[in-house]
Symmetry: C2
Subunit: 210 residues, 2 copies
């Protein structure tokens, strides 16, 4: 699909067809296209938990304000941001670093500078949260567009008990933040898509030009 059409046709849909599954290969293709998203230092501090079984979706729905789409969509993606990927020694840091050195994009002796720069930018509760969330937000946008391009629909949700979902997944709250859940599936044929919501214009979005 053309990029602009993908942007225009992506809509947050409320009604998913529970009878139409999302096969694993399609989901894999979507995730690997979204994996091309850029990230600070190429740390890619994002991840997913894929929830498919009816039983698990029912548990998740309870933690997500009982939104019917959580159990009606065939797949729910829990999007994760890792607040610790920026630290020297973290596997994301080390792998990104090795890749850059191997490809000649960085010299070995720049390691201290890179590690120090990353620490300066990301250390502290607020900055490490912002690091995880900005990157995971970019990844989430790519996921929704890649799903649309693959003929699927999505609904991003932030209405859930954050601590509850982390607990349900057994994830460390010191490490992970969940910016959103994304329901993925097929639009239920007999339902009607509501009118599109307004969007801000260029003049509303641009505070100032210098």
């Amino acid at each position: 699909m053309e990029f602009k059409e993908t942007m225009k046709k992506r809509r947050a849909i409320n009604f998913f067809d529970s009878e139409k599954p999302v096969d694993k290969e399609t989901l894999k293709g979507i995730v690997e296209t979204a994996a091309l998203t850029p990230s600070g230092f190429n740390f890619q501090p994002w991840g997913l938990v894929v929830v498919r079984s009816q039983e698990e979706k029912a548990k998740l729905r309870e933690l997500a304000w009982n939104q019917p789409k959580v159990s009606e969509a065939p797949v729910v993606l829990v999007v994760l941001g890792d607040k610790t990927s920026w630290r020297e020694g973290h596997k994301d840091f080390e792998r990104a670093w090795k890749d850059m050195v191997d490809k000649g994009l960085m010299k070995e002796n720049a390691r201290g500078m890179v590690a120090g720069g990353s620490e300066k930018l990301h250390q502290g509760t607020e900055r490490s949260l912002a690091f995880a969330v900005k990157n995971a937000g970019m990844f989430a946008m790519s996921l929704m567009l890649a799903a649309k391009d693959a003929g699927l629909d999505t609904h991003p949700m932030e209405g859930f008990d954050h601590a509850g979902v982390l607990g349900y997944l057994g994830l460390d709250p010191e490490r992970y933040f969940i910016p959103m859940l994304i329901a993925v599936g097929h639009f239920k044929g007999e339902k009607e898509l509501g009118p599109a919501k307004y969007r801000k214009s260029y003049d509303e979005l641009v505070l100032e030009e210098r």
Copy 2:
């Protein structure tokens, strides 16, 4: 351009052609396509400052670790996330609410529930930061893809003095967070694009399937 091609061809480029400007109409088209990005409650808590003049770019470059692309790219976008849009009374809240009521998507008497839900999710330093940053991150991804689709290249940057850039722009740190700067322009013809960095595979990205 096809969506997948847009994803694949978007690369963070280091060398911009200073002689090739980005005209206002092209930038407007990019921003208005990116404006289709979804957001929590449709609050669209994002904005931009567009920096074009050589003098202003030089000031910004000083605050951005002296990265040459800040002054070499014809346009630098300062991406803003608004940490306060979720509050009842904020113009973003009020406009999104009015739009939903006008379109029959919400009933007037649900206002208290929506305002209360938004407050529950977003109140507090960390949650309001996450709210601004996740949404602005999605918007930033759309901007980079829309620029690529319009024949331009970009480079997202988080290496800058956050408090310094807010101060330079005269923006309230209680209200705004800057997830990144994005340089926008044309790739400098005589330079060579380095090898693409590695990306995580599906199996690396998915922590668990349930």
